[in-house]
C-alpha cells in the first residue's frame, strides 16, 4: 500500500483556525460514505489517497476483522477466559488507517488498546490476549515486529518513542523513502501527563522523526475530554514548536493519509507532528467499566451514525467496488479468525510458577536465584500431598 497516499504542501488561503471556533478536521470520507477528493490542514498541506480497489477492500476487511476479534475477546472475558479486556470498538479507522500508513521500517509504541495497529503490524492477534488473560505481559517480540510492548502506565511510552526516534537521527536514518520514523500512540487523557508533554519538548528540541498519534475517543475512563483540555488537543503541538493536525479518526482514508504524510515528513527530517484522531470509544473503557454511570445513550447513537466501518462499506457499495458477496465473505473470514482466536485462547497454558523468577535481570541475580531455589524446594514439599 506504499503508494496509497499523497500529500502536497501548498500554502492555504484559509487562515489558521482561531482557538475558540470549531476546529477543522481533515476528512476524506464523510459519515454517509461520500468521498472528498482532497482536504487541507491549517498549514496548507493537502491530503488525498489514491488507493487501488484492492486496497480499499483491504482496509474494509482489516476493520471488520479487527472489530470481530475485539468482540470475541470481549466475549471471552465475559466467559471468564480473560481477566479484563480493553475494547477498541469505534476506533478501527484510526488504528487501521494509521497502522497501514506505517512503512515496514517504522517503529510503533502502543498503549493497551492498539489491537488494530498490532494486527496491521502482522502480529498474531492471540498475542495481546496473554496480557489480558494474565499469563504474560504480551508475547510478541517488540523489535522483530517493530511494535513495542503494550504500555499501561499512561504516557510513559511517549518518552520511549521519543528516545527511539532520537536514535534514528543518531544513526543517520532520516532522509529519503528508506528513512525511519516512529509513531507513539496515546489517548486524550494521556495528554495531561507530564511525560507526554516532556516528550513534546524533547521531540521538538531534537527534531525527532516521530508522529504523536492521539486517539481522542472523548473519554479517559469516565472523564470527558473537558477534564483534560479546554481547547482542541491538536493545538497543543504549536506551543511546542511543531505541527498539530486534527483528523477524522472515524475516516480510515484520512487517518491513513495524514499519518502517512506525517511519517514521511518525519523520516525526511522535518520533525514531529501531533495527530489528533477525533473518534469515539463505542464500548466501555474496559470490561470492568460501566459507562452508563457517566454517559447518555444518545451520545453513542450519534456516534454510531459516524461508524468507521459502515461508511467505508457504503462507499465500496456505491462505487461498485464490491458486490454483496464481498461483505458475506469478509464477515465469514472475520468469524473464522475469531473462532480460531477463541480456540487458541482456551488452550493458552498457565505459566509454570517457577518461571516467575526468570528474566528479572539479563545477567541474573544470586538473590533471585536463591529465592527460586527455595521456592522450588518448598513447592516440591507439597508434591503428592493434597495441596
Amino acid at each position: 500500500m506504499a503508494k496509497g497516499a499523497t500529500a502536497s504542501r501548498t500554502r492555504s488561503t484559509r487562515s489558521r483556525a482561531a482557538a475558540s471556533s470549531e476546529p477543522e478536521m481533515v476528512q476524506l470520507l464523510t459519515p454517509d460514505g461520500k468521498r472528498i477528493d482532497s482536504a487541507r490542514d491549517s498549514y496548507g498541506t493537502e491530503y488525498t489517497v489514491d488507493f487501488t480497489d484492492d486496497e480499499y477492500r483491504g482496509l474494509y476487511r482489516d476493520m471488520v476483522v479487527v472489530r470481530r476479534l475485539d468482540a470475541e475477546a470481549e466475549a471471552l472475558q465475559r466467559q471468564g477466559e480473560l481477566g479484563i479486556w480493553a475494547s477498541l470498538k469505534g476506533q478501527e479507522a484510526a488504528q487501521v488507517g494509521s497502522g497501514r500508513a506505517l512503512r515496514p521500517q517504522d517503529m510503533a509504541f502502543p498503549t493497551y488498546r492498539e489491537h488494530g495497529v498490532l494486527y496491521c503490524r502482522g502480529i498474531d492477534p492471540i498475542m495481546p490476549l496473554g496480557l489480558f488473560r494474565g499469563v504474560d505481559q504480551g508475547g510478541w517480540d517488540p523489535n522483530e515486529f517493530k511494535f513495542q510492548m503494550y504500555t499501561i502506565v499512561i504516557g510513559a511510552q511517549t518518552l520511549h518513542a521519543t528516545g527511539y526516534a532520537m536514535g534514528i537521527n543518531k544513526d543517520g536514518k532520516v532522509g529519503g523513502d528508506d528513512g525511519e520514523a516512529v509513531i507513539a500512540y496515546f489517548g486524550d487523557g494521556a495528554t495531561s501527563q507530564g511525560d507526554v508533554n516532556e516528550s513534546f519538548v524533547w521531540s521538538s528540541v531534537y527534531n525527532a522523526p516521530i508522529v504523536f498519534f492521539c486517539q481522542n475517543n472523548q473519554y479517559a475512563i469516565s472523564e470527558p475530554i473537558e477534564r483534560q483540555t479546554r481547547v482542541p488537543l491538536y493545538q497543543r503541538a504549536n506551543g511546542f514548536g511543531f505541527r498539530g493536525i486534527r483528523v477524522d479518526g472515524n475516516d480510515v482514508l484520512a487517518s491513513y493519509a495524514v499519518t502517512r504524510a506525517a511519517l514521511d515528513q518525519a523520516r525526511s527530517g522535518e520533525g514531529p507532528t501531533l495527530i489528533e484522531a477525533y473518534t469515539y470509544r463505542m464500548g466501555a473503557h474496559t470490561t470492568s467499566d460501566d459507562p452508563t454511570r457517566y454517559r447518555l445513550a444518545n451520545e453513542l447513537e450519534e456516534w454510531q451514525a459516524k461508524d468507521p466501518i459502515t461508511r467505508l462499506g457504503t462507499y465500496l457499495r456505491e462505487q461498485k467496488l464490491v458486490d454483496e458477496d464481498f461483505f458475506t465473505t469478509v464477515d465469514e473470514e472475520a468469524k473464522a479468525a475469531a473462532q480460531h482466536l477463541r480456540e487458541r485462547v482456551l488452550t493458552l497454558p498457565d505459566p509454570d510458577p517457577v518461571s516467575m523468577f526468570d528474566h528479572v535481570y539479563p545477567h541474573g541475580s544470586p538473590e533471585v536465584d536463591a529465592q527460586r531455589e527455595k521456592f522450588t524446594a518448598y513447592a516440591a514439599s507439597f508434591e503428592g500431598s493434597a495441596h
Binding site: G83, G134, Y294, V368
Partner: protein, 329 residues
Amino acid sequence: MATENLTLGKALTMGLRKAMEDDPKVLIMGEDVGKLGGVFRITDGLQKDFGEERVIDTPLAESGIVGTAIGLAIRGYRPVCEIQFDGFVYPAYDQIVAQVAKMHYRSQGKVRLPIVIRIPYGGGIGAVEHHSESPEPYFIHTAGLKVVTCASPLDAYWMTQQAIASDDPIIFLEPKRRYWEKGDVDTSAPASSAYPLHASRVARPGTDATLVAYGPMVKVALDAATAAEEDGRDLEVIDLRTLSPLDLTPVYESVRRTGRCVVVHEAPQTLGTGAEIASRVTEECFYSLESPVLRVTGFDIPYPAARVEEEYLPDLDRVLDAVDRSFGW
C-alpha cells in the same frame, strides 16, 4: 445503635462521607472519583451529594493531583487524593516525597499539609501489570509521611475519618482484595470510641509464636493461626495498622513471651517492611528470641502475571511453613 454489616469498601465510603459532613474543607480529588465513584466505587455518591466543587474529577496526571492538593492545603483545604491503583503512584513521587513529606519540616512548622493520599494496594485480584503492587516500603522509609492501612471494615470506617482529621500528611493504603469482605461497624458510635489511628492491635492473642501482618495479610495470618491450632500451636497475630510510625510495642511484648516472630507482607522481601520489623524486634528482644525473625513476603521480582500471583503472594501454607522453620531452628 446502628451496627451494620458492611463491606470494607462501603465502610470506606461511609467514612469519607462522614469526614465530608464533619468538615466542609474536606475535598476528594482524583481520576474518575466523580460520576463513576472511582473504579472501585469507594467515592460512590459523594459527588452527587457534595457537588463538583468538593469531589473533583481531575485531569489524568498523578503529580498534578498531589501537587495541586498541596496548594489547596496551603489555602486551608483538606484534600483527600485518590490514586487509582498502587502502580500509578510513581509519577507523583516527587510531589509526595520531596514536597508533601517535607513542607512542615522545611517551614519550621509554619505550613501544614493535612493531605490524605488514598491508594488501593496489593494483589490477589487477577489484574494486569501495575495493578497489584505494594509500594508501602517506599513511603515508610520517607520521613515526614505517615502511613496507615486497614484490615477490617471497622478500621476502614474510623481510620479514614481519623486520617482526614489529622494534620499530618498520610498515605492511606487500602487492601483492595478485601474491599468486598464484610464486618460489623457501629456508625452511631462516637469518634472517641474509635481505636487510635497510630496504634497496632493484637488481632488474636496467642502464646507460642507471634505473627505480624497488616492490610490484606491480616486475614492470611489469622487463617494461619486457626490452622495452626490443629498442630497444637497457639499463635498470636498482631495487626500493625500503622506502618509509619510503626507501633511495635505490642510486638516486643508478644515476642518476649513467645520467643518467635514471623512477619508477613506482600511487598518484595529486600527492604520490605519486614526488614525494619525484624531489625527492631531483634534489637529489642535479643535475649528472648529462640530463632531469628522470619519473613514471609513477595519475592524480589516484579509482580508476576496474574495466573501465578497465588504462588507469589504469601498464603496460609507459606506462613505455616515459616512458623515450622521458626520452631525447627
